[in-house]
């Protein structure tokens, strides 16, 4: 069976100041299986949100391809792409900015149904509102009448109204308080099961990513540095950046705290990326080779296992 999504060497470059090139996304490849949730984690500027948008062609990729059910969507005409979009939807972080304040909830949730020429819009809007846990009278009200958590429920109802196969969730719970966050995480898990959704779940929050993902991709400076099962990434990380990132999470409670790896310095200047590995300036295990040659993401021998990572410390298998 083919993967639902196959991404090959996807890149998005922007023009920077004085002729420089900003490589927001710099050659990313992975596959997403049916019913699978891939968590994408990384810090500001690592390219995770650009990845989510480029997958859906909300921004056009500079190079590379995205195969959805085996069909390359990067070259589809606008019309064919719009038809394809019913299968691929997105939920954004900001539940305040992503809903039109002048439209009633019924209009907002029903809009994708109208655009794609579906019948029984009102009934299906009511059904979706019920599914995401909003009262029936919500359809006649405006976004400002709802809390942040409720608005995120509305955004989810809109995204799922067409029963898409793929949902990209870009920091869907990051703007919410802890007690509301868990309500929305539970809702997303329920909907995933109910609709057989595949998801790309983008977040900077490692504990949320661990909770929702089957597999995890760790991004740094526009590239995936390590990808694998959620358990491998969390319990046996191999890339030095993944290890530092995991050790930096403040953990509530009294359990044994891992030895913290305090990273020196910060991300390189995207307009002037260093040659070689982007992480070498902050890496304690950097070798001469790291300064000249960028390591590719490939299967390598690491910790007595085979792992998919981009680091010269581990020999290609």
């Amino acid at each position: 069976m083919t993967a639902l999504l196959e991404v090959r060497d996807l890149a998005k470059h922007y023009a920077g100041k004085s002729g420089t090139t900003i490589r927001a996304l710099d050659g990313v490849g992975f596959t997403l299986g049916r019913d699978e949730v891939l968590g994408v984690v990384g810090e500001s500027g690592c390219g995770k949100s650009t990845l989510g948008r480029t997958l859906l062609r909300l921004v056009e990729p500079t190079q590379g391809s995205v195969l959805f059910e085996g069909e390359d969507i990067t070259n589809l005409s606008r019309r064919d792409m719009n038809r394809r979009r019913r299968d691929m939807q997105i939920v954004f972080q900001d539940p305040f900015g992503s809903l039109n304040p002048r439209h009633k909830i019924g209009t907002i949730v029903g809009e994708p149904l109208v655009i794609h020429g579906e019948a029984d819009v009102a009934a299906r809007v009511a059904e979706m509102l019920d599914i995401v846990g909003l009262p029936p009278d919500a359809a006649g009200r405006f976004p400002h009448e709802f809390s942040g958590g409720q608005r995120q429920r509305i955004a989810i109802a809109r995204a799922l109204a067409l029963r898409p196969k793929l949902l990209v969730a870009d920091e869907p719970v990051s703007a919410l308080d802890v007690s509301i966050q868990s309500q929305i995480i539970n809702l997303i898990a329920d909907l995933r099961r109910r609709f057989g959704l595949s998801m790309i779940f983008i977040s900077h929050d490692l504990s949320v990513i661990r909770h929702v993902s089957d597999r995890i991709a760790v991004m740094y400076f526009g590239r995936i540095v390590e990808i694998g099962s959620a358990a491998d990434i969390f319990d046996r990380p191999v890339h030095p950046y993944t290890r530092a990132l995991l050790s930096a999470i403040p953990r509530p409670g009294l359990g044994p705290k891992p030895q913290r790896i305090l990273l020196e310095g910060e991300l390189p200047d995207p307009a002037h990326p260093p040659p070689g590995c982007a992480f070498q300036g902050r890496c304690r295990q950097a070798m001469a080779r790291c300064a000249t040659e960028a390591p590719g993401l490939q299967i390598r021998r690491a910790e007595g296992d085979l792992r998919d990572t981009a680091c010269h410390l581990f020999e290609a298998a």
């Binding site: 809390s147 995480i185 504990s207 930096a248 403040p250 953990r251 409670g253 009294l254 910060e266």
Partner: protein
């Protein structure tokens, strides 16, 4: 415990007739880091602003209580006396390091300003001390950085500059309101380690305002949990995480993904926080509580004065 640097006693803050914070009391000893934790709207930031006497008055005002700083009631000080304390013996850091620095002055000038105002240093002496402070907060090549502008620095570096300004006069008390919330997790770890080292070296008392229980657990000695305008539980950090007594604290700790097996349904807290003005006579958490008893709706539970205090009629076993 030696005489507290800060003792907040029965503080209530109101906007018009609406109480935003009620009967807040806590004390911080020299060298101690106290966490004030809670979700949006719980009153933690307004409490910190009151301690610094930075409430937007009118309409927000201190309705009752005392704020004893080294025995002096800040709530009763007037403009000039207050200015002598603030920035000198009380240092402050805020969440957003971009907007708390003045974009048209160099960082050297902004650090030196504090020293010329409060320490009457000359220009050259203030500049020399500013370079020492930048060095102290871990900005390398400090002398060369003095003439840079805020926009030339990263978020983490800006927060380091804010800390340098806050520490310029070696304050007795540092108030830090979500100092790492806008930063990435690896930079957050650097900044928290810095604040922790400085308060130990300088014997500073710290009030750390945060929504992040993980941060509290990492760096604080004691913690007060706020909910709907009141402190509901206060304890030594280890006791709070080992044995949360208030039903809200317990539910909050249980609901975070890190407390649960990956993929498991999270024990969500139903409903939302009652907004100011819609809070009843009993416990503010009663409508969301998993174990309410009869008197919770009618009688306000009091915090008491024990080392581990919880305002709960039916504390968690």
């Amino acid at each position: 415990m030696s005489a507290p640097v800060l003792a907040v006693e029965g503080l209530s803050i109101a906007a018009g007739d609406t109480l935003l914070a009620e009967d807040v009391s806590f004390a911080i000893a020299p060298g101690e880091m106290m966490g004030l934790v809670g979700e949006s709207g719980c009153g933690k930031t307004i409490t910190a602003l009151a301690v610094m006497r930075l409430l937007p008055t009118p309409p927000v005002r201190i309705a009752a209580g005392r704020i004893l700083f080294d025995g002096t009631d800040l709530a009763a000080l007037d403009g000039e006396a207050l200015r002598r304390v603030r920035g000198d013996r009380i240092g402050m850091i805020f969440q957003e390091p971009m907007t708390s620095l003045n974009p048209v002055f160099t960082i050297g000038d902004q650090i030196a300003e504090v020293l010329t105002i409060h320490r009457a240093l000359g220009r050259a002496a203030a500049r020399g001390r500013a370079a020492e402070l930048l060095d102290l907060v871990g900005i390398p090549a400090a002398i060369r950085q003095l003439d840079r502008y805020p926009h030339q620095l990263s978020g983490g570096q800006r927060q380091r500059v804010m800390i340098a300004i806050a520490l310029a006069c070696e304050p007795r008390l540092l108030v830090a309101d979500e100092p790492t919330t806008a930063l990435d997790v690896t930079v957050q770890a650097q900044i928290l380690a810095l604040i922790d080292r400085l308060r130990r070296d300088l014997g500073m008392a710290c009030l750390l305002i945060t929504h992040d229980l993980g941060v509290v657990s990492e760096v604080c000695d004691r913690v007060a949990v706020m909910y709907a305008g009141r402190i509901v539980e206060q304890a030594v950090v280890a006791d709070l995480f080992r044995h949360p007594r208030h039903r809200y604290t317990r539910a909050l700790l249980d609901t975070i993904p890190a407390s649960n097996p990956p993929g498991a349904r999270l024990p969500a807290i139903a409903g939302t926080v009652p907004p100011p003005g819609q809070r009843g006579v009993g416990c503010n958490f009663v409508a969301r509580c998993a174990a309410p008893v009869g008197r919770c709706r009618s009688d306000r539970p009091l915090l008491g004065a024990s080392d581990h205090r919880a305002a709960c009629w039916n504390p968690a076993p």
